[in-house]
Symmetry: C2
Subunit: 356 residues, 2 copies
Amino acid sequence: MKIAILPGDGIGPEIVEQAVRVLNSLDEKFELESAPVGGAGYEAHGHPLPEGTLKLAKEADAVLFGAVGDWKYDKLDRPLRPEQAILGLRKNLNLFANLRPAILYPELAGASTLKPEVVSGLDILIIRELTGDIYFGQPRGVRECPDGPFKGEREGFDTMRYAETEIRRIAHVAFQAARKRDKRLTSVDKANVLETFQFWKDIVTDVHKEYPDVALDHMYVDNAAMQLVRAPKKFDVIVTGNMFGDILSDAAAMLTGSIGMLPSASLDANNKGLYEPSHGSAPDIAGKGVANPLATILSAAMMLRFSLNKAEQADRIESAVKKVLAQGLRTPDIYEDGTTKVGTKEMGDAVVKALA
Amino acid sequence: MKIAILPGDGIGPEIVEQAVRVLNSLDEKFELESAPVGGAGYEAHGHPLPEGTLKLAKEADAVLFGAVGDWKYDKLDRPLRPEQAILGLRKNLNLFANLRPAILYPELAGASTLKPEVVSGLDILIIRELTGDIYFGQPRGVRECPDGPFKGEREGFDTMRYAETEIRRIAHVAFQAARKRDKRLTSVDKANVLETFQFWKDIVTDVHKEYPDVALDHMYVDNAAMQLVRAPKKFDVIVTGNMFGDILSDAAAMLTGSIGMLPSASLDANNKGLYEPSHGSAPDIAGKGVANPLATILSAAMMLRFSLNKAEQADRIESAVKKVLAQGLRTPDIYEDGTTKVGTKEMGDAVVKALA
Ligand SMILES: CC(C)[C@H](C(=O)O)[C@@H](O)C(=O)O
Ligand SMILES: CC(C)[C@H](C(=O)O)[C@@H](O)C(=O)O
């Protein structure tokens, strides 16, 4: 089985390095091949998603991705900016289903800005549609305003859209995921204002007929943002569109206070996927050896489970991570009095050791 | 000076009643005229925003609005649903600037789901553009998908758009508001993905030249949602578009844990405005006499300050509200051990008494 390793920018290379060590210490053999992406892709080949990188990602059975972005690329034209790499990979690989667990490890409850009783034991799964919506809808651009009170002046515009098939397939992913959990699904929309999301709501309601064992409710996105702050534990699985999912999944991750712990998976229709930590490239701490590699290591575990059919190995990695937390090891982002502060590599060492 | 009183649905009538009592107890005379809106408008005249109600709102110097919506109207066609009234009022009255303070009263710090050190003393102002963006952009609807892999099947679609003038005028409101506060403005966009918001960012940056005394920073909406949870006190004024503002202003309100305390103002270019509590119509507790009238009373204070040029009377109301909180009076939504639980009318009585 071939895994494409795309470390990217900022802390990407150092956290991916630890995940690779973990993969290599399993008693399975994987073919790992690296390629530059994001700013690193631009430096090497003049493009954030170089042709060779895209080809490798397409050929591989799964992609392990670090993070992309650095302030130094902020002045590039948009098509050359690092984040275009991740959008390009999603679109070219048809990775329409983004799974983002927001889990609060009991040992890390203190890291949250929310009161312990509100978040302890938090375990929700946000499923974000990832290849449709206003992210890719055409037409878009800056044009002369065609009508209305501002006719003739410049306006920026974008198109939000969802086709029936796109909604159906993400709804199926969500109902099936809910089935494996507490059997409750919240579909987040803005059907009171947007035609796209009235349509979304209608289709999700229709797909629900095939999953009578799952309880479905619908919530407006503004209310969902409130309920995540008010009573996040009431959610089980949330499914929503690309734009709302971008906002809500980050808010949910931050509820835990330990975003350095949260993995993510982006899957196509055949469970091929791209796996990356939920956090960003953190250029401010890059190269300092202090970044938390656990989200990337847990992303590798998700990869084993969803794309490589090695659930047992995934379980082993997840147990090893729990073990190092129980041992009191903490990178600076999750450090608290009474625990042991370690760096990126030491944390990787500890996971490898716990696996043995 | 004429004030249109639009109580609406659910708890709307009972909370507006208390705000009206407060207004009547000032030593200023206002002409108050009521009209039905939302579900009440539909019951009385077959439309959520009856012609007479719109006419009254247009003629008046300001509008005091309760809340609209009730599950019993969920099955009506969209144009007849209660929330269309509020969208119609915003659009017809050109109320493009929505001001939503998120303030945590020291006495109510315990009501928040966030740790006291994270939110105590919170005082941020969210300025949401209210008449543009994907809320009103054309075209929108359900159509046959014109191209791409889903060509020919049904798709829901909407248009996001902002004309230059729309961005400039809300940016001016925001910079001016920041000037009266801590002189820091965060413009929230998604310029890395959306053309509309790259344009937004460019125009806000341009308007900034006229306000060199205000510090401006730009933040992506997903990051803003995270920072609101992580460190909300770092914000002073936030400005954003209609859709992102809908989500972020509700999240920010919920950080306080006391959304029953938060007023809002929606202003046109001449400071005529509509004033309403940030919370909804709460049909589940309607008519029980337990709703918190303070957000509506504080909305009336905002009305006196922004539209009616009676800053002194506004100050008096705000002081009276602080006084009743200091007296320990609490409606059930903000009740804690050791305080005195009161109903809607008793809370109104207490504010009127504190004003005397
Ligand atoms: C970098 C950006 C384009 C991206 C997105 O908006 O999807 C990021 O925020 C994410 O959530 O992966
Ligand atoms: C009721 C709804 C249309 C409205 C909106 O989305 O603007 C509400 O959520 C608000 O924020 O006032």
